[in-house]
């Protein structure tokens, strides 16, 4: 299943946040979306997942999701969005309870995703007992449990400390190697973008327009940390964005 964004424009009240975005997300591809703060990345991702309606333009779904897919467009959030009153297993079962699955099938799915994310030992733990990295792994397990056609990730690593970030990035790469998932990945972090993205979409400051789309052909498995080609791309991206990042940083938050 591919996704296709056509002429998406959006405004909140008087503020235009996105302008004429055209983009497609091909099956098996990770599309990274980068841009300065407040340029509308999260808004765009909400539109892709059907959580918000663009003022104009549309998001189309090309082809059908696989038959066993329970929730084609599935999010992984920056702040994990786990229910604190449910255990790890309860948080996963939450998203299965609305589907016509019998208890055994549900149990099987839960055991499977926990094993894939190496969380089996933490089944009965509450979110408060887990480190940030573990919480995000639970959120990933939850997302996998509904067999998504496309994963929508909004800065999934940016609430983590950088060592954990490194560990989880490796996990995401391994997972892609195994499952070839499709994803739209929003991030501020250029290193993450060049590490994970098959296609990197650079947005301008608000109102977000597409400034550039960089495709990286190198297979994910080859993208090790000492890699001059990636470094060069990262540097190019940074040069493209630095001034806008600085300007976005210097903006005063509007007085209300």
């Amino acid at each position: 299943m591919d996704l296709n964004l056509r002429n998406i424009t959006h405004r909140y009240d008087e503020v235009e946040v996105l302008r004429d975005i055209n983009l497609d997300i091909k099956q098996g591809q990770i599309v990274c979306i980068i841009g300065p703060s407040g340029c509308g990345k999260s808004t765009l991702l909400r539109m892709i997942g059907g959580l918000e309606r663009p003022a104009s333009g549309e998001v189309l779904q090309l082809g059908d999701p696989p038959a066993d897919c329970l929730n084609p467009l599935t999010y992984i959030f920056q702040d994990f969005a786990l229910l604190p009153w449910r255990t790890v297993e309860g948080n996963i079962s939450l998203v299965l309870e609305n589907h016509p699955l019998d208890a055994a099938a549900r149990e099987e799915i839960i055991a499977d995703v926990l094993a894939r994310t190496k969380l089996s030992d933490f089944r009965k733990a509450y979110p408060r007992q887990l480190s940030g990295g573990m919480k995000q792994r639970v959120a990933i397990a939850r997302a996998l449990s509904v067999r998504p056609a496309v994963l929508l990730m909004d800065e999934p690593l940016s609430a983590l400390d950088s060592q954990t970030r490194e560990l989880l990035m490796d996990d995401l790469v391994d997972l892609w190697e195994k499952e070839n998932y499709t994803a739209a990945y929003v991030t501020h972090n250029l290193a993450e973008a060049v590490r994970l993205g098959h296609k990197i979409v650079v947005l301008s400051r608000r109102p977000g327009e597409i400034r550039d789309i960089v495709e990286i052909a190198m297979p994910l498995s080859d993208r090790t940390s000492e890699n001059l080609e990636l470094e060069a791309i990262q540097k190019r991206l940074w040069n493209l964005m630095r001034d806008e990042a600085r300007a976005a940083d210097m903006e005063l938050v509007d007085e209300r």
Partner: protein
């Protein structure tokens, strides 16, 4: 620049919308309509006899009672008496409460000794103590002010030390790391940090003060909104009763508004 690789011939179906909702937004217009509608219905009910005068007087009768109060000038006498008690009692209760709350918030000894005492005395109904108050403070203004003072003191203490407990310890450590004196930290970091909680405490204590006004004016009060309500109640003059209650409600709204202004002013640094 845009992505031109999509063939325009290939068309898909739009992604289904599933967001939105769960953000109840009150429509400003509805509240007045509800109020006016309710009062109109009530008036209509009374006029047609659907609501017997025994159960509830018509709003127009209550309004008449109110105009009576205005015309005889008694309104100002009642209001002046009540406001004086309210302001003195509430102000001194709040001040004492802030002082004691700050002590409990800052010092282990005060916390150990006073906090359990406060928790034990706070929930005692003040009406129950009225007979003692009469003995302790006489039947003059003393016992009325004391009732209100007593009622507002405890919630202020609790709000104040709660506020101090919630001041970001990081800010205090910052103050220490720059070598600020203890006094400076209290004045410039802790008290401003506790101010939002203290102000929302005054909101509660103002409501309590108004509620206690009726109890306070049970004691030998000739004038005062509370006394007016009590007389109306004992005469079963329900129109006057409703008028008195409405006046208290308005007093409450006005107090809340004033505190809201104070919050706007003192907490303008907040989002």
């Amino acid at each position: 620049m845009s992505d031109k690789s999509v063939e325009d011939t290939l068309t898909g179906k739009p992604v289904p919308f599933r967001g939105g909702g769960f953000l109840p937004r009150p429509k400003k217009i509805v509240a007045p309509i509800v109020f006016i509608g309710l009062i109109a219905f009530w008036e209509w009910g009374c006029r047609t006899g659907f609501i017997s005068p025994l159960i509830l007087p018509a709003p127009s009768e209550a309004f008449e009672a109110f105009m009576n109060l205005v015309n005889t000038g008694l309104l100002w006498q009642h209001l002046a008496a009540s406001l004086q008690r309210l302001l003195i009692g509430w102000f001194s209760g709040t001040m004492l409460g802030i002082i004691v709350g700050t002590l409990i918030g800052l010092f282990s000894i005060a916390r150990s000794g006073l906090q359990p005492l406060v928790s034990a005395i706070f929930p005692i109904p003040k009406i129950a103590l009225l007979p003692l108050f009469i003995i302790w403070f006489g039947i003059g203004e003393g016992s009325k002010v004391a009732t209100i003072l007593f009622g507002t003191f405890f919630p202020t203490v609790i709000a104040t030390y709660g506020g101090i407990d919630n001041v970001d310890r990081g800010l205090i450590r910052m103050g220490q790391s720059f070598g600020l004196t203890r006094m400076s930290i209290i004045r410039k970091v802790i008290l401003p940090g506790a101010l939002p909680a203290i102000l929302s405490g005054t909101r509660i204590s103002a409501a309590i003060a108004i509620i206690l006004l009726v109890a306070a004016e049970m004691i030998a009060a000739e004038y005062g909104i509370g006394a007016y309500i009590l007389i109306a109640g004992s005469l079963m003059a329900t129109d006057q009763l409703i008028t008195g209650v409405a006046i208290l409600s308005c007093l409450g709204l006005i107090f809340a508004w004033i505190i809201g202004r104070a919050e706007k002013y003192f907490l303008k640094w907040r989002a």
